[in-house]
């Protein structure tokens, strides 16, 4: 039990990941899909961050009185990944705006109906 609870950070990651994934798959609304995608990505960010944390460590800046530091690399990587995620969201939202202009809806089912009719 302690093992399971002790790894709570991983559980958070897994729950978020599955939630996000479920939203992407199950929702019909294009915006909601993007939200799901963001949650999904965020869970991965958390995974990286949690890996970099060293028990009792501090921010990796050389200073008097500290000799345990957290691993800075995952943080840096995730910063990049966050930027990538933001860019993805922006492009996705841009696409949704254009889809809304062309189809007048952002529900996937309705768009499909329109495509089939066309």
């Amino acid at each position: 039990m302690a093992d399971v609870l002790g790894l709570y950070n991983y559980w958070v990651v897994i729950v978020l990941m599955m939630t996000g994934f479920y939203i992407v798959v199950a929702r019909d609304n294009l915006i909601k899909k993007i939200i799901g995608l963001s949650i999904f990505q965020t869970s991965v960010f958390l995974l990286f961050i949690t890996v970099g944390k060293v028990e009792g460590g501090t921010a990796p800046i050389l200073a008097e009185g500290f000799d345990v530091y957290s691993n800075p690399l995952p943080g840096v990587l995730i910063l990049t990944a966050i930027v990538v995620g933001v860019a993805t969201t922006a492009v996705a939202l841009g696409l949704v705006v254009r889809i809304n202009e062309e189809y007048g809806t952002i529900e996937e089912g309705e768009i499909h109906v329109q495509d089939v009719e066309a």
């Binding site: 991965v44 990049t80 993805t88 492009v91 696409l95 949704v96």
Partner: protein, 495 residues
């Protein structure tokens, strides 16, 4: 500058992309982008020559030695893929100006197109050149984001929904890869591929590595559109502007196949991936089902771009099939097909682009009598189509030869038979177009004047590819020869 080649090949297009934004002037941007694309190609050629001469080249970014810093590591395999990507990039860029002025009338700001195009090129080249796992992810997203934008520029509004669909699938795939990278980082504490291969010794059989392995398999399969994770591809290719389709079809999925090779052979090692994990049990059936199913679906498409897109899914199957043999001949077949298919699919989609330009559509009914109206375009289509079928003297034959040989080597003669049978399916869908184009009377033209052949600026790049298809179908030292050496080094059997 010689020693900077590994980074220059990525840097040149990357530097040119923002410059396009600053230049703005249409003709200037077009000329600039074409020049940059050719420069990149020249660099990639130099790079390959250097690798052939000196062996693996390692380049430390920022002067930090690997495994701490980011390393660009060029061996035969990625030098070969770089040439394909940069070469296609250059040819398609040269082809593009006349086509986008017809297909992107709404985009008066053409410099945006070229910016996205160069960024996409940067991303694909970056994935290939880097020796750092996280860098792969970043470049993967750079290329993917710019390709979403490029695809959404299509005239049909379905281009938007297909770009959206691709975005969702692509992001999921890339995130899966990122998870895999994270898990491997947990186990090894390094992101350098060569170093990771060493660090993985001893921890290969831990659960974390196995899970990472699984995430990689799924993520990469999405990215390279392996059946049944290919659903994003047909629409994206069908509705994107022809330039974009030609470029992406010839490069994007190929680079994903490269990632597959790199991860499973260099990082995990083939004994692990194909020996103890038995990856082939997963890849081979999917590849075979993909080949047959996608080819069958292609036969029933009336939109020819969509037909070719399904054919791409099938062709990815060939590459994966070759890889799943995990033998020298199989890998040679897979790698050489990666290159060959890039050439022929690009030529086919460029032909489609010429037809879109003259007829406005690539519906099969529009192609009636085009054999007479656009003889050069259709001749190129037929030539590249023959290569798709795998007729001797074309590159397609070479790929098929190695694949069948590899299958026979392992005693898998039904697989060999299936590979050959499926080329008949390709014959069916290519010949469907040929019959319509050469045997049906042209559609009555309502007063707009007769359709004539595409202008020379479109024909020349396309025919350059067709000539390459035949050249590399006859003399394969430069393709199959290098692919074979790359395969041997991946399998660790090179002398």
């Amino acid at each position: 500058m010689e020693e900077h080649l590994p980074v220059l090949v990525v840097l040149v297009p990357m530097l040119a992309a923002p410059l396009c934004l600053l230049l703005r002037h249409r003709t200037a941007v077009t000329g600039f982008a074409i020049a940059v694309a050719w420069l990149t190609f020249a660099i990639s050629v130099l790079l390959l020559l250097r690798v052939l001469d000196q062996g693996v080249i390692s380049y430390e970014l920022g002067g930090w030695p690997p495994p701490w810093g980011i390393e660009y590591r060029i061996d035969l395999l990625n030098a070969f893929v770089l040439i394909l990507v940069a070469g296609i990039g250059a040819i398609v860029a040269t082809w593009s100006p006349a086509s986008i002025s017809v297909e992107l009338p709404r985009y008066e700001r053409h410099y945006l197109f070229y910016t996205a195009y160069l960024l996409c090129l940067t991303g694909l080249l970056g994935i290939t050149a880097t020796g750092d796992l996280f860098n792969v992810f970043v470049f993967l997203e750079i290329s993917a984001l710019s390709s979403y934008v490029l695809i959404s520029m299509g005239q049909d509004r379905r281009a938007l929904t297909s770009a959206y669909q691709y975005l969702i699938m692509g992001t999921l795939g890339a995130t899966f890869i990122l998870i895999g990278i994270g898990l491997l980082y947990i186990m090894t504490g390094t992101l350098n591929m060569a170093d990771m291969a060493v660090q993985l010794e001893g921890v290969r059989d831990t659960r974390t590595v196995l899970v990472a392995f699984g995430f990689f398999v799924v993520g990469i399969s999405v990215k390279m559109a392996l059946f049944p994770l290919h659903l994003w591809l047909p629409n994206a290719y069908a509705y994107a502007p022809s330039v974009v389709t030609a470029f992406l079809a010839a490069t994007a999925t190929k680079v994903s196949v490269y990632i597959l090779l790199r991860f499973f052979f260099t990082v995990f090692g083939h004994e692990f991936a194909f020996g103890s994990m038995r990856l082939w049990v997963f890849l081979m059936p999917l590849a075979l089902i993909g080949i047959v199913t996608a080819s069958l679906v292609a036969i029933f498409q009336n939109n020819i771009k969509r037909m070719l897109a399904y054919s791409s899914v099938a062709q990815i199957g060939y590459m994966v099939l070759g890889i799943s043999f995990a033998s020298v001949n199989g890998l040679t077949g897979g790698i050489v097909h990666l290159f060959n298919h890039g050439l022929m699919k690009c030529a086919l989609f460029l032909a489609m682009g010429c037809i879109v330009m003259r007829c406005g559509s690539v519906h099969i009914d529009e192609m009636r009598g085009l054999g007479r109206r656009m003889p050069w375009t259709m001749a190129a289509f037929v030539a590249a189509g023959l290569s798709l079928i795998g007729v001797p003297l074309t590159v397609g034959f070479i790929s098929k030869w190695y694949l069948v040989l590899a299958a026979l080597e392992q005693g898998l003669w039904p697989v060999a038979a299936l590979v050959l049978l499926s080329s008949l399916l390709a014959a069916v869908y290519v010949w469907r177009v040929v019959e319509v184009a050469y045997f049906h009377e042209p559609r009555a033209v309502d007063g707009e004047g007769a359709i004539t052949d595409a202008p020379l600026s479109l024909l020349l790049p396309m025919w350059a590819l067709v000539i390459a298809i035949f050249y590399f179908g006859i003399s394969t030292e430069a393709t199959a020869g290098i692919a074979r050496m790359a395969a041997e080094s991946l399998l660790g059997t090179s002398p």
